[in-house]
């Protein structure tokens, strides 16, 4: 499209409709799957459609870039797109951090009988505490809660049974225990990986492709080790600590926050891996490597979320 001025407006494309079809099929299939727990076929068909389309789509974008169709202005659109996408991800995590905050700071004490002064009865001693007394007598608010309100009130017959043990910081009592504490290692690994990806970034800016691929490769490996350790931690939680999705609000917030973080690490690792493979093929230049840069930004974001998780979910609990 030579008469399009400097900004490249692509030709008609089948890809968007294909991607929408894939997403729609996945959505429908996911609902079918969770309802009866077995009809997963539709979901995976959708996923396959989406995967194929995405593969082609990115292929085309890369090709356009190689053919010099991507002006600086269009590149800037991609940059903005990525930054705002990361912002939306931040807000997604904010919902779960917010839920944790609300439950820890307000709900848990209320359930334990601490008075909440409401507009409609400002005698804090009666109604609100009585509420807790009537609903869940005997529940004592602690964090992390090892006994659920249900359990405190109904003992054996409770629907939600708290964990035997939480994922807390073991304290400074013994070095062995600190060293055996996986979250610490995971923190070290992720922080290191942010550093290594940074080295790779500097290297490609100087056109040093060898250093770039080497450090990027190391970053990908660190990502995989992190995921491996997290899987290990989950197995530990399920098998030895009685900490599961159904062990009340602690398990709920723990698994959802760390789980979504893990899912994002997985995505980030795949993005970095693709960048690594593209690096091997020599796709990136010192002044043109946004595909990688976007992945690196994403990686830093995932890292920052982890630091938040580490402090709030593990250390200060």
């Amino acid at each position: 499209m030579t008469d399009q001025g400097s900004y490249y407006v692509p030709e008609q494309s089948k890809l968007p409709l294909g991607a929408a079809l894939g997403m729609g099929t996945m959505g429908f299939g996911a609902a079918m799957w969770v309802i009866d727990g077995q009809s997963a076929t539709v979901f995976f068909v959708g996923l396959a459609i989406l995967a194929i389309v995405m593969y082609k789509w990115w292929g085309i974008v890369i090709e356009e870039n190689m053919n010099g169709m991507v002006s600086n202005q269009l590149k800037h659109s991609y940059v903005l797109g990525m930054l705002w996408f990361i912002f939306s991800e931040v807000m997604f995590f904010a919902a779960f951090f917010g839920a944790l905050f609300y439950v820890r700071v307000l709900v848990n004490p209320w359930l334990g009988g601490e008075a909440a002064i409401t507009l409609f009865d400002d005698t804090p001693t009666d109604a609100s505490t009585a509420n807790a007394e009537l609903l869940y007598p005997g529940y004592e608010a602690t964090w992390p809660p090892l006994v659920t309100p249900d359990q405190a009130a109904n003992g054996e017959s409770a629907k939600f049974v708290g964990p035997d043990q939480a994922m807390s910081f073991p304290g400074f009592s013994s070095w062995q225990r600190i060293l055996a504490w996986l979250p610490l290692w995971n923190t070290i690994i992720l922080l290191t990986s942010s550093y290594t990806v940074n080295i790779a970034h500097h290297a490609i800016k100087e056109g040093d492709r060898k250093t770039f691929t080497r450090w990027l490769g190391i970053t990908v490996l660190l990502g995989i080790v992190f995921l491996f350790l997290q899987a290990e931690e989950y197995i530990e939680a399920y098998q030895h600590m009685g900490l599961t999705l159904d062990s009340g609000i602690y398990g709920t917030t723990f698994f959802l926050l760390t789980g979504f973080h893990g899912a994002h690490v997985t995505l980030g690792t795949i993005m970095l891996l693709v960048s690594f493979l593209r690096g091997l093929r020599g796709h990136f230049k010192d002044n043109d490597h946004f595909g990688f840069e976007a992945a690196a930004w994403y990686w830093h974001f995932v890292d920052v979320v982890w630091v938040g998780l580490f402090l709030i979910v593990y250390v200060f609990d």
Binding site: Q12, P16, G24, G27, Y78, F87, V107, L111, T148
Partner: protein, 518 residues
């Protein structure tokens, strides 16, 4: 394919990368959803025509109120304004297209799938969602039909569509303005959409979080919203309204933008207080993040919370008042003519302000104890969402359609439609204030005899309002097919802005080379 649209119908409309065609798709989709959501409303009003159960079962009534709200908010109003954004933003800022044209088409095509999933639940075992458009837990979790899972994934898809659409709009506005088009020269419609898009990117993920928590509670044993496990159903309301309140501004801000374009044209005066309009929009957007719990005054919040949310909510009246003041002052001493778009905008100013006042009443925590969950709230939000968002959307179509297709709508028919809509709207929703103040709760399929008269009036108004929409549809189709040709690029004598410098109708690709602004 450089100069015109594809000859092939399928290629043109399904594989498009053109902001005008995609805008058209959005607008038609939105109108289809408007009719569907309207049909649900007709069923609701038919059942409420008289006390007692006549036509449908209470379970189905609940599905109708839920689906009406969901389809109207997510299917009709939001896509309508995205459609307008698609058509107008590139033309208003002198850009060749949206920043990311393929993603633009993806954002659109997700919607038909999402709504197919949502609406299909009506035909499934257990029926569709029946827990209200605000889907409070535990109604939407513990007590929900299995089909709630389709609803959850449908909402996820709509969220993905909105986020991509908004990112596209932000990138377009930030990156594609013609040289000389500084931020403070942008038309207000562009400004309001930029801020709206920011709101969307910020809160749609929170909505995704809310439905994800539901999904986990329903299927995977978590206890976000279950006090037995240490969670809290009220947590749902906090997460939902953290999305929900900004959402109402997502709906109304682009409407503000439309009105701020149209009123100056027919007043033949530049907009009064341009920069204060921009700052007011930003202020409203900021405030919208910190007032959410005014929807939860009766849920049993600590008194400090009640007071904080009450005062913070009242603050919104300040920037909103600035806007209303500016619209009125723009009209003051203008040489006004009353073409259909202008009529809708004037009605907007009056009725939206009225809705703002009822909002102020609701924001008084102590008074809200009486109003909450009554028809008063229903009346409030229909004044702001129908007379606000829908009226301004209608105005926008009448105003820009002649530009887009180079044909004039029938003015008499437009005016008739306006008066019909205006009168019918008030007949429908004004009495709902009285009903609510008298104590009629919302979302019930039956009511006490003392509410019978106003309910009948309201239903009659609703049917009239529905009829007015068919007239609108007819007028639009007639215009596109057989309207009187317009050639003047400006269409309207008082119109101002880059889109009016283009030929009428504008060629398929516009501003391939950016215009230069003084």
């Amino acid at each position: 394919m450089a100069h015109g649209p594809s000859e092939n119908f399928f290629t043109r409309w399904f594989f498009s990368t053109n902001h005008k065609d995609i805008g058209t798709l959005y607008l038609w989709f939105s109108f289809a959803m408007f009719l569907l959501g309207g049909a649900f409303a007709m069923i609701i009003r038919a059942e409420l025509f008289q006390p007692g159960m006549q036509l449908i079962k209470p379970e189905f009534f609940n599905q109708m109120t839920t689906m009406h709200g969901l389809v109207m908010v997510f299917g009709a109003i939001m896509p309508a304004f995205v459609g307008l954004a698609n058509w107008l933003i590139p033309m208003m800022i002198g850009a060749p297209d949206m920043a990311l044209p393929r993603m633009n088409n993806l954002s659109f095509w997700i919607l038909p799938f999402a709504f197919a999933i949502l609406v299909s639940t009506l035909f499934m075992e257990g029926g569709g969602p029946n827990f209200g458009w605000t889907f409070y837990a535990p109604l939407s979790t513990t007590y929900a039909p299995d089909t709630v899972n389709y609803f959850i994934f449908g909402v996820h898809l709509m969220g993905a569509s909105s986020i991509m659409g908004s990112i596209n709009i932000i990138a377009t506005v930030m990156n594609m303005r013609a040289p000389g088009m500084t931020y403070m020269k942008m038309p207000l419609f562009v400004w309001t959409w930029l801020i709206t898009a920011f709101l969307l990117v910020a809160v749609m993920p929170v909505l995704a979080g809310a439905v994800t928590m539901m999904l986990m509670d329903i299927n995977f044993g978590t206890s976000f919203f279950d006090a037995a496990g240490g969670g809290d159903p009220v947590l749902f309301q906090h997460v939902f309204w953290f999305f929900g309140h900004p959402e109402v501004y997502i709906i109304i801000l682009p409407a503000f933008g439309v009105v701020s374009q149209i009123i100056p044209t027919f007043s033949r005066k530049p907009l009064f207080g341009y920069s204060s309009m921009v700052y007011a929009t930003a202020a409203i957007a900021f405030l919208s993040f910190i007032v959410w719990a005014h929807h939860m005054f009766t849920v049993g919040m600590p008194i400090a919370g009640e007071l904080y949310f009450m005062y913070a909510t009242m603050l919104i009246a300040v920037p909103t008042g600035v806007k209303v003041f500016n619209w009125i002052t723009t009209m003051y001493k203008g040489s006004i003519t009353y073409e259909t778009p202008m009529l809708f905008c004037i009605a907007f100013v009056i009725l939206f302000t009225f809705g703002g006042f009822t909002g102020m009443m609701l924001s008084i925590a102590a008074a809200d104890t009486q109003y909450h969950d009554t028809y008063f709230v229903v009346a409030h939000f229909h004044y702001v969402m129908v007379a606000g968002a829908v009226f301004s959307g209608t105005a926008a179509i009448y105003y820009w359609l002649p530009k887009w297709c180079g044909r004039m709508y029938d003015e008499t028919m437009g005016k008739v439609q306006f008066w019909l809509a205006f009168i019918a709207f008030n007949i429908t929703f004004m009495p709902q204030h009285f009903l609510g103040l008298a104590g009629m709760p919302r979302r019930y399929s039956d009511y006490g005899l003392q509410f019978a008269d106003w309910n009948m009036v309201s239903s009659i108004g609703a049917f009239m309002y529905g009829g007015a929409q068919l007239l609108f549809l007819f007028n639009v189709i007639r215009t596109i097919g057989w309207g009187k040709p317009v050639e003047d690029p400006k269409v309207w004598e008082g119109a101002d802005g880059l889109e009016w410098t283009l030929p009428t109708p504008p060629p398929f690709h516009t501003f391939s080379t950016p215009p230069v602004l003084k």
